[in-house]
Symmetry: C2
Subunit: 183 residues, 2 copies
């Protein structure tokens, strides 16, 4: 499955067929078709793994990061990490294909919804583990939309330098908005 | 050309061939090939128009918007408008195709660069026409990355309701950061 994610990210939508999966796995087309009787079942399995890995990138909040600016910075970094890996680049290929494929769109939307809720919950918890800031919910939302935009800017060329400045600006704005002191 | 943008956005990458353009325009394939001898020349022309229209969406700052919160809100709305039209959805198809096509990537990157600079300049001018806020440059950058993320969230389903909340949060954060009074 991870070779399919790699192939989607680097070779595009055409790489994610049952036949291509069989070839990469070195199994017969029949064997692959036993697991994935249709392309939809394949894409569905691939997307589930993509979303799992995207949230896995973001789900471990180091307990040793103390309160304050560092924790907010770590929370933002983690949100950005969701959208700057190979998984997001693979997801982008699925989304691009879904623009002209209503069936695929129907398949994706509930999965994406579930992912979005999980990512939001994790980002709120990372910014505000003790539930002290009511604004953390809307700030986490902006953080994830910004992270998605940064991920898209990173798909064709390495955008990490510019991104570091944007992340620094955003982290400053959040800490100011939450009145978090620089420890 | 605008029918090609429409077709890219709705039918995907496969719709942007010289043959498909000829068919939509009702001209012979030979006539279309006279204008666009290769697919690269076609894509290049389409992308140029896409970027022109994206900046056109953002380039007119109404002179009658007074200083203060309303002007910042209008600036943010305009940045978001760049990424929520058909042009962005068409651009997304080109970017997705470029992930597996180094030649296309080379073609896109300088055009995208030029577009990014223009969009940034316009957003800075919209937020801070009188050059009073040094932070306007970095805030404009975050605004555009956020707008790109919001655009991507709008490609598979209508995200306008959720987006309005994100835009409101962001506008509040900017006005607070710039110390702009609610007039």
């Amino acid at each position: 499955m991870s070779s399919t994610i790699e192939a989607l990210a680097h070779d595009g939508w055409a790489a994610a067929t049952v036949a291509a999966v069989a070839e990469r796995a070195g199994v017969s087309r029949g064997a692959a078709q036993h697991h994935f009787p249709t392309r939809e079942t394949l894409i569905s399995a691939v997307l589930e793994q993509i979303f799992d890995e995207m949230t896995a990138n973001a789900s471990t909040t180091p307990a040793d990061i103390s309160d304050g600016v560092e924790r907010v910075a770590a929370a933002v970094d983690r949100a950005v990490a969701i959208y700057t890996g190979t998984e997001f680049k693979a997801a982008l290929q699925v989304w691009a294909a879904a623009a002209s494929d209503p069936g695929l769109r129907e398949l994706i939307l509930p999965m994406e919804d579930k992912f979005a809720r999980a990512a939001h919950q994790m980002t709120v918890a990372a910014i505000d583990p003790e539930g002290r800031y009511p604004q953390a919910h809307s700030i986490a939302q902006v953080t994830l939309d910004l992270a998605r935009g940064l991920g898209l800017a990173d798909t064709l060329s390495d955008d990490s330098k510019r991104r570091a400045q944007v992340v620094a600006t955003w982290t400053e704005l959040i800490t100011a908005a939450l009145n978090i002191d620089r420890a």
